[in-house]
């Protein structure tokens, strides 16, 4: 009987381990599916490695949260293949500049924003981001707002 109990207990443990493994595997599969969904606008890794996009300097720093930040920046992009490419502001969904039959390019802009902006290089007329970069907007003072209220003393 003790041996039978041990066998039953062992079997129960094995089942639990299998169940946990299945859950972990399912979680990973689910995570991979989500990752695939969020990366749907990004080129496959072997393609994206062909493209590079940098912006200097960064970040853009304003004094107080909510203030517009100003920064003169230079974008530099390159691609292993000559083609028609565009630099796009993903945050505002606007095309900043397009180049024809080029493998690299530069663009100077006067960045002005209250928020961090994401940028990407795309093939012309494509929604796939070949390379991405970001201009983060930071603040020195991050003020908070007191809760509104009426007279508290009375």
């Amino acid at each position: 009987m003790p041996n039978l109990k041990t066998t039953i207990t062992t079997n129960k443990m094995s089942n639990q381990i299998i169940l946990i493994c299945l859950c972990i595997a399912g979680w990973f599969i689910s995570g991979s599916a989500n990752a695939g969904a969020t990366q749907s606008n990004t080129a496959p890794s072997n393609t994206s490695q062909l493209a590079q996009l940098e912006v200097t300097p960064k970040p853009c720093v304003a004094l107080r949260k909510g203030q517009k930040c100003y920064l003169e920046v230079t974008f530099s992009w390159s691609h292993a293949q000559v083609g028609d490419y565009c630099l796009v502001n993903i945050t505002t969904n606007t095309i900043m500049k397009c180049w024809q039959k080029q493998a690299k390019g530069e663009l100077n802009i006067d960045f002005q924003s209250t928020l961090s902006n994401d940028f990407a290089v795309r093939k012309k007329d494509s929604a796939i981001n070949l390379a991405r970069t970001r201009i983060p907007v930071a603040w020195v003072y991050k003020s908070s707002k007191r809760a509104k209220s009426t007279w508290r003393l009375f």
Partner: protein, 294 residues
């Protein structure tokens, strides 16, 4: 020379408008701390509060009326600590650009436009001298009072009333300030003008000379063969004006640069005191600082 016949009240005849136009006004510096910080950082709403701490180095240059035996200009480089902490409407703040020392208070009311604080503060020490043009004393006095701040369009106004809380002189001050800021790219410029009333009790406590003190001082000067003679003096109430123009620039997310120029009138009720050897009617100062914000 100064004597009791000159002790009548001589409120400056310059109007506030004229002083603003001349760019040489305001005092009220004793209450400028909160408004100066808010104006500098471009705060647009009443009740905007923040918890922060910063440490920096400040270089100060000022030209001033001084007590007997001292020069008329002063430069100094010192460590500054600015900070604010708010908890359940209680707050503690220290801002070196203001005329205050430490401020401890309670926010009794605030909405989008107005905010009312009750507070106690030390602001009569050396730190406030270039802000209010009053007196150069190392001695701090505890004051209790309130300040009402209003945020009207691009402008911030602040009215304050303070009373001596120590019982040493029972003096009173009342001030009104108005300020605004302008942003040019990441540079934040600001200007503040205002006026401050100081009661006779407070003025007399610091720059008044009793007959007994005058006699004792003259006796001392006679013994050391000095030609200086002191008359008794009773200071009256005064009104002073001041103006401030400054710029704040965020060097990085953690470092801030500030520069501020101030001009403050020194009321006759103060500068007529026989204690003052180098008399001026306007005190000017220039401060620059670099601070690390935690």
């Amino acid at each position: 020379m100064n004597n009791k016949n000159l002790h009548k009240s001589r409120i400056p005849h310059l109007s506030l408008a004229a002083m603003i136009f001349a760019g040489a006004s305001v005092s009220g510096g004793s209450f400028a701390s909160d408004i100066s910080h808010n104006v500098r950082s471009g705060t647009q709403q009443a009740g905007s509060s923040e918890d922060y701490l910063e440490i920096g180095l400040m270089h100060l240059m000022r030209d001033e009326p001084t007590f007997l035996g001292k020069g008329g200009s002063y430069t100094n480089t010192s460590l500054i600590v600015n900070g604010s902490y708010n908890w359940n409407n209680l707050f503690i703040e220290s801002y070196s650009e203001s005329g205050h020392g430490l401020v401890v208070g309670y926010n009794a009311f605030d909405n989008e436009r107005w905010s009312l604080d009750f507070m106690v503060t030390t602001d009569w020490g050396e730190v406030s001298f270039e802000h209010d043009g009053r007196y150069f004393f190392d001695e701090d006095k505890l004051m209790a009072g309130g300040r009402l701040s209003g945020y009207i369009g691009d402008y911030i106004v602040q009215f304050a009333l303070n009373q001596d809380a120590t019982g040493d002189h029972n003096g009173t001050t009342a001030s009104a300030l108005i300020g605004r800021s302008w942003q040019y790219r990441n540079w934040n410029f600001h200007g503040i003008v205002g006026a401050e009333y100081v009661s006779a009790k407070l003025n007399d406590y610091y720059v008044g000379v009793s007959a007994e003190d005058a006699a004792a001082l003259n006796d001392y000067y006679a013994r050391v063969s000095a030609e200086t003679r002191i008359d008794a003096y009773e200071a009256d109430a005064s009104v002073g004006f001041s103006s401030e123009f400054g710029v704040t620039y965020p060097i990085s997310e953690d470092w801030v640069f500030r520069a501020t120029a101030r001009a403050v009138t020194v009321p006759d009720e103060i500068s007529d005191s026989p204690y003052y050897g180098y008399k001026k009617s306007v005190l000017t100062s220039l401060r620059t600082s670099i601070s690390y914000v935690f």
